[in-house]
């Protein structure tokens, strides 16, 4: 039965596709918003979508998407959030877990719409940074080296991630690695960046501005603090510069460190796995680097704040709001240089 229904759908969709070629992203967003079928995961992932809706003067309501794309598949969500490196791949590809839509689906890119916000960075607590400057710089140095290698050899990086207890299939891992490499080496305007970990002033500013507009904290004190945050409150470029300028020799204060990821282990974090696998961390003087899987109930900001781990991967918004509520965290490098978020849709629905 399945195959039958599928082929039917495909033929009609291509036919319709040609008819409605001229639809702009504005039309699509308007229709989806009117139907109440815009989807996002919420939980701190929604601000770009809110900004986009606001940009087109639409009410900022959306449906909660679970971690699958089933809602997109069954059309209960017609404009669904997806990470280029994860959900988009599942929607398009037909390997295990995929939905196999191939290129029949299209998407709206947050970077193109000018509402991109920065995602995966590396952060630690201000106290930790102050007490362990060499450690921080060394960690960045080795991690950058890992990322650099991974961006150049995504296939191998995917294999390494897979071996370190990946949460996804091999094929998907490879897809992810390719896409993550793009995010690390391209900026929001689509230009190539060469310096991994660079904290781009404009992109960070844009992120913080959007965050200030759409993050509203119920805690009045925290909210006020949040609105008054400047970039300098939440980032420190000195370690990045030190790492970039370094010759790779460090005198690390702490030989065993840990980093908590923002999500389950996979190629989204391939740089760290590569650095670990290739011994880059050892080279700069670490005895042991423990990569702690994320995606759990204890948020990475909390874990770093209460010293369960030394470093963490999070998004700028999460970091800013954590600082606003009294944590003392600081971003030390920006790994993803552009937003990975897109809104995917089936043209036949419009």
């Amino acid at each position: 039965f399945v195959g039958c229904g599928e082929s039917q759908k495909e033929t009609t969709s291509t036919a319709e596709n040609e008819k409605k070629e001229e639809l702009t992203s504005k039309d699509i967003i308007e229709k989806a918003a009117k139907d109440g079928k815009v989807g996002n995961w919420g939980l701190g992932n929604e601000y770009e979508v809110l900004a986009l809706l606001a940009k087109y003067d639409l009410p900022t309501d959306f449906l909660s998407q679970d971690f699958t794309m089933d809602g997109f598949d069954d059309d209960s969500i017609t404009l669904a959030s997806a990470m280029t490196y994860n959900e988009l791949g599942l929607v398009k590809n037909d390997y295990e877990g995929g939905y196999g839509y191939k290129d029949t689906v299209e998407y709206i890119d947050m970077n193109d719409e000018g509402v991109a916000m920065l995602e995966d960075n590396i952060f630690c607590s201000k106290d930790f940074a102050k007490e362990n400057p060499e450690t921080v710089a060394a960690f960045l140095y080795a991690s950058f080296k890992g990322w650099e290698y991974a961006v150049e050899n995504p296939k191998e990086a995917a294999q390494i991630c897979y071996e370190y207890g990946s949460s996804v299939s091999k094929e998907h891992q490879e897809y992810m690695a390719d896409e993550v490499a793009k995010l690390v080496s391209t900026d929001t305007k689509g230009e190539k960046v060469s310096d991994i970990g660079n904290m781009d002033e404009d992109a960070m500013k844009q992120t913080l501005d959007i965050a200030k507009k759409y993050v509203s904290l119920d805690d009045a004190d925290a909210n006020e603090k949040f609105q008054n945050l400047t970039l300098d409150d939440i980032r420190d470029t000195s370690f990045y510069e030190k790492a970039q300028a370094s010759d790779g020799k460090f005198n690390v204060e702490k030989k065993k460190v840990s980093i908590q990821l923002k999500w389950l282990p996979d190629a989204q974090f391939m740089g760290y796995y590569v650095a670990l696998d290739k011994g880059y961390y050892k080279e700069v003087g670490f005895e042991d680097v423990n990569i702690v899987s994320g995606g759990g109930d204890i948020a990475e900001t909390t874990a770093v704040n209460n010293n369960t781990v030394d470093f963490g991967v999070t998004w700028e918004t999460n970091l800013a709001s954590a600082d606003a509520s009294g944590m003392n965290l600081v971003e030390i490098a920006q790994i993803f240089q552009r937003s990975g978020l897109v809104l995917v849709y089936k043209p036949e629905n419009y």
């Binding site: 229904g5 069954d74 295990e96 877990g97 939905y99 996804v168 759990g296 109930d297």
Partner: protein, 270 residues
Amino acid sequence: MREKMLNIGNKKWFSAVFWILLLLIIWEISAIVVANTKRIPENILPHLYQIIMAAFSGEKVSGELSASQAVLTSAGQTLLRGFLGFILGGVIGFVFALLMKMSNLLGKMLFPYLMLIQLIPVLGLAPIILSITGDINVSRVVIAAILSFYPVATNTLYGFKSVEKEKYDLMYIYAAKKHEIYQKVLIPAAMPYFFIGLKIAAPMAVTASILVDTLQGDGGLGCLLSQSLKHAMSIYTFWLIVFFSAFIGIIISKIIGLIETAVSPWKRRP
């Protein structure tokens, strides 16, 4: 005729077969409907044979593990933590019931708060427990215990309270010490109620243990579940976990039932 039907209804084998068949039929009918209406039916309701095939398929889904292997290895950790949490919760629940029975004052003071502790979601509780225990795995066990002690506490307390006055009178006459009254009257009398509490708490402990797996993403059924939910892994892993946990639930309640009859010979009907 009616008589006969009632009799068949009371046959043990019939009951088991009936329920299994009923569930299978409902499931399969729904699965056929889903298969005809949905593009990716296995995400919503796969056929049972597909799940069974997935269980026995050797295909690697996570590292070098097949779906069943992945489920069973993760289940090992989760069930161990769940079991420890359950034991701890059972003991805590029993002790609380005992304390509340011993001191009316304490009981009245504490009882509403015991219930309130249940209402603090793991999300709020976890950081606090973590800062007390300092270890994520100990925290997991403790939280599983917290989430499963309450049914044991209420039911056991109810058991203590349902002891007839005459039995107290008898012990009173012999000027039995408090601990003797507990040991010889209250505790044995509360046993059936304690076991109801355990039966309710056991699935809660399994559920809780799976829930607390996700405190940190480093293994256990809960993590496997959240991975499979992301569709990054075979969706059948998800269905296997669903069936596995239901199966564990049945097994546990059967085991508790067996323990109950083993410790209450006066109820055994030869």
